[in-house]
């Protein structure tokens, strides 16, 4: 089996898939659907040889005639030569000015009170013929005498290094101790590291959030509590599946699990190197990591098979994993550092949500609060300090720009907001980076959908009105569509290959389903405990996408409940914030566990009212317009053009 243009050859068993052979040959093929033959992105050209196509779902007859085949669905039956077209590179510009906001220390941080990690300077009496105490006991004695720290424990690898460190440092060292940890709250203290000289002026840990899409690392100075550096990057697993289901399926393939784990570790390593470099430290100077993420991400991070998450009755292997040593896991920080994965509640309500519920203050308020993570899994929590109930409502990745014809992530060139004139049906839009647009990101899609609806281009069921007098509404390749940007105004490729940026009826269906799932999840939660949804006092919106949402438009399409705007609070990435707070404080860490223990998970697939609520929400804004009085008002009386809108239109 030979791959062009790299001319890499590999020997595989007959019956292997081209995708497997490519992996063997070290060729990186994009498989956003996880190798299910759904997305068509792993198409290769068969130049020569015998293969059998199990499925060619995304390929046209013409493509097949040209020799195209899906690498994940094509079986090698003899020698073959395969051409790998250039792989779309994942855009690496995630951090916009919006995401890198200053992080404030969340509470009055006192490291001695809150932080279980300590760095203590020791000037140890060297041994002599008169004092024959062994090195380890000598260190323990110094800790006891100078710092009143008793009963410190260590392990063999530490002891193997101890003698030389002490002597090289001339018996003046800094001991890094973990006084206690969540899994052993009463100690005893554990010796994490011994380094030469006095290094007590600094002590670092990292807060990590492993998102399905992006991974975030905060480097935290544990003495001041401040976030020194934050970095974010796409989770390299994306190439093996865009959503958790695709990744679970991929993990079930030959060594897929190992591969996915090493991909996320690779992403984290890069991030860790970058934060360390920025802070002018070594990654081994990082002595602790708290990790948050959804249940699938944490399973993959720990290489625990996630298969059962996907299958009924949707059970994780572990919601609260035990602490592990970084070295054991291969996480690129001090090998003797504790890696503390925060606890989740269920397959689709993970540590990212428990962390979010605590960091947002929801776990400690008397107000009836709704917490929503508007992302692929649409996790929603309802409750107060006394009770919490959560669900996940598989909204799909439409609001993250995936599964939408010209959707893209919120990076440079993405349309992030749209306005449409109600008489001419002409759009105005704003592009991230103020340049020619490449596509539309989630917030842009949301605002586009709302504008299409309130201007009457879409009817309440989401159908485009073909009889309106504008060339922008037309029948396209994938059904009816609305042209947002004509080809020559875009940045969609070379001059010859520029294309119109459109939203198709398939896209609109996907977006409607996403918003309906999220709204339905919230109504079912309220119904399940017998609470009137109108009594909700505040809505906290987490998730990376959350911070860009225009509330007015989100209400117009029926994604968010129709409440006064001041009741909504956008919190950004509450998961990494929870991870950060847990890193700082054993108290917060305890609260997250308590919240997880208190949170009742409602499995929507076992709940028949969900389907009903979902169908009801699968309408603009909702089948029951009485739940959206402000939208009804707009539909009856027309909207008053806002000043902001006029300003933009004029511009």
């Amino acid at each position: 089996m030979r791959f062009e243009p790299t001319d890499k050859a590999v020997e595989v068993r007959a019956g292997s898939l081209i995708g497997e052979a490519a992996h063997e040959a070290g060729i990186d093929l994009n498989m956003p659907c996880g190798g299910q033959g759904r997305c068509g992105r792993c198409a290769v050209i068969i130049e020569d040889g015998t293969v059998r196509r199990r499925s060619s779902l995304r390929l046209s007859d013409e493509d097949i005639a040209k020799g195209y085949a899906l690498a994940c669905q094509t079986v090698i039956e003899g020698d073959a030569v395969v051409m790998v077209p250039p792989q779309e590179k994942i855009e690496r510009r995630l951090t916009t000015d919006k995401t890198a906001a200053e992080v404030t220390v969340p509470f009055d941080y006192d490291p001695l009170r809150d932080q279980p990690l300590r760095a203590v300077y020791l000037e140890i009496e060297p041994p002599s013929l008169a004092d024959q105490t062994d090195d380890w006991s000598r260190l323990q004695r110094a800790l006891r005498r100078e710092h009143n720290i008793d009963g410190v424990e260590t392990d063999l690898p530490m002891l193997r290094r101890l003698g030389s460190i002490l002597r090289e440092a001339d018996w003046r060292v800094t001991a890094v101790l973990e006084m206690d940890a969540y899994h052993r709250p009463d100690g005893p203290p554990r010796l994490v590291d011994v380094v030469p000289g006095n290094r007590t002026e600094r002590l670092y840990g990292v807060a990590i959030d492993i998102g399905t899409t992006s991974n975030v690392v905060y480097l935290v100075d544990l003495l001041s509590g401040r976030v020194e550096v934050q970095r974010v990057d796409y989770n390299a697993q994306i190439a093996r599946g865009e959503d958790v289901i695709s990744r679970i399926i991929y993990a079930g393939k030959n060594d897929g699990l190992g591969e996915l784990q090493s991909l996320v570790l690779k992403t984290l390593s890069k991030l860790l190197e970058r934060v360390a470099k920025r802070a002018r430290i070594e990654t081994t100077d990082i002595y602790k990591a708290t990790v948050s993420g959804n249940s699938t991400m944490l399973h993959l991070f720990l290489a625990v098979p996630p298969e059962s998450i996907r299958l009924t009755p949707y059970i994780t292997t572990v919601n609260q994993s035990p602490a592990v040593m970084a070295g054991e896991l291969g996480l690129d920080i001090n090998p003797n550092a504790t890696v503390d994965c925060l606890p989740g509640v269920a397959s689709y309500v993970g540590a990212d949500i428990t962390a979010g519920v605590v960091s947002s203050g929801m776990a400690d308020t008397e107000k009836l609060t709704l917490f929503m993570d508007i992302g692929t899994n649409g996790e929603t929590v309802l409750g107060t300090r006394d009770w919490l109930i959560a669900c996940a409502c598989s909204a799909g990745p439409a609001f993250e720009g995936a599964g939408v014809e010209h959707g893209m992530r919120a990076t440079l060139g993405a349309i992030e907001e749209v306005w449409i004139h109600s008489d001419t049906f002409e759009p105005t839009y704003r592009v991230i980076g103020e340049r020619e647009p490449k596509g539309i990101c989630g917030s842009g899609l949301l605002s586009l959908l709302a504008e299409l609806f309130v201007t009457g281009i879409l009817d309440k069921s989401g159908d485009l009105q073909l009889d309106l007098d504008t060339p922008r509404i037309r029948e396209g390749e994938h059904g009816d569509e609305y042209v947002v940007v004509w080809a020559d105004e875009t940045d969609t490729g070379g001059l010859a290959s520029k294309h119109d940026i459109v939203i198709t009826e398939v896209d609109i269906d996907n977006l409607l389903r996403a918003k309906a799932a999220i709204y339905a999840g919230y109504t079912v939660l309220a119904e399940s405990v017998g609470v009137d949804p109108a009594l909700v006092e505040q809505v906290l919106i987490g998730g990376a996408f959350g911070q860009y949402i225009n509330i007015e438009k989100a209400i117009q399409i029926g994604l968010l409940p129709d409440m006064p705007w001041e009741q909504f609070h956008f919190l950004g990435n509450t998961s990494v914030r929870g991870s950060y707070m847990a890193l700082l404080s054993r108290n917060v860490r305890q609260q997250i566990s308590e919240a997880a223990g208190r949170m009742t998970y409602l499995e929507l697939s076992a709940d028949n009212t969900f389907y009903d609520q979902f169908t009801s929400a699968l309408f603009l804004p909702h089948t029951d317009i009485a739940q959206f009085p402000s939208v009804e008002e707009i539909l009856t009386n027309g909207r008053t053009e806002t000043t902001e809108r006029e300003k933009v239109c004029a511009a």
Partner: protein, 323 residues
Amino acid sequence: MTVEIPVEKWPGQVREITLGATADEGGTRSHTVTVGGETTLPFLHFEGEIPHPPVVGIEIASRRPDDWSPLLLETWSDVVDDPAAWAKAAEEAGADILLLTLSLEDSVDDATSAVRQVLEACDLPLIVFGPGQADKDNELIVPVAEEGAGERLVLGVCEEKNYRTIVAAALAHDHLVNSRTPMDVNLAKQLIILIHDMGLPLEQILMDPTTGALGYGIEYGYSVMERLRLAALQGDSMTQQPMLVTPGEEAWKAKEAKVGDDVPAEWGDWGERAINWETLTATSLIQSGADLVVLRHPETVQRVQKTIDALMAEAGEPELVAA
């Protein structure tokens, strides 16, 4: 002991809708039929008004429907090839209204002439359904709407995937439409909203939530109709349309009604079983809120009408039965 009978105060009322038009109103019917207007659940006379009893229709076809059960074809054998004669026979069998189903094989002329003949042959208000394939329905129903202008026909079938053309035809010629959705409360309401948003007054829209036959999902249709009727009485305007269902068609699709041979012996006598199947399908839907049921067998029509009469009778003092 005093017992306080719980009486619900329903804020809502089912809309009154009139089918057909007399000469005075621009049509040719001898009388019109009005349905709806209820202010309580079916037949609970003690707490509200039921101004119009549910109405029974008979389904006839523009040409011999070969896929119908032999039992039906035999019953109507004298008229099954002639829509006008069939219409007359159905009127004599006691129908309050007629449903004329057009065929896939009909040309535009076939369809309009069938409608014309039926209108001339009988005095009842008329529902006309296309054969049930979007393109063909649109092709036939538009000229039918024109042919029947002034008659206040009910045109169908409007479904989510195909309602615009038929609604436009109804708007142009002042007809009614049948809004059909697949056994779901929300979908039923959504299509009413969409049709109404096209400009058709709510007084011209019947709601057809569809049903399964007895043994074939009737419980879904039954509960959906109960829920729709409760919503209507609770004041949800878009669910306040009178409900039309076609238990005849559904019941006679079921093997229990359709077939006499090669069925289990314990199913009993075919004729009686088939009539029971259609009757129970229809009467239970009437109990759950149907205002208009369309049937196929004349014997069922008799039984269902008798049941409606009995249910419309104000509950008197109970007759005491000696044990």
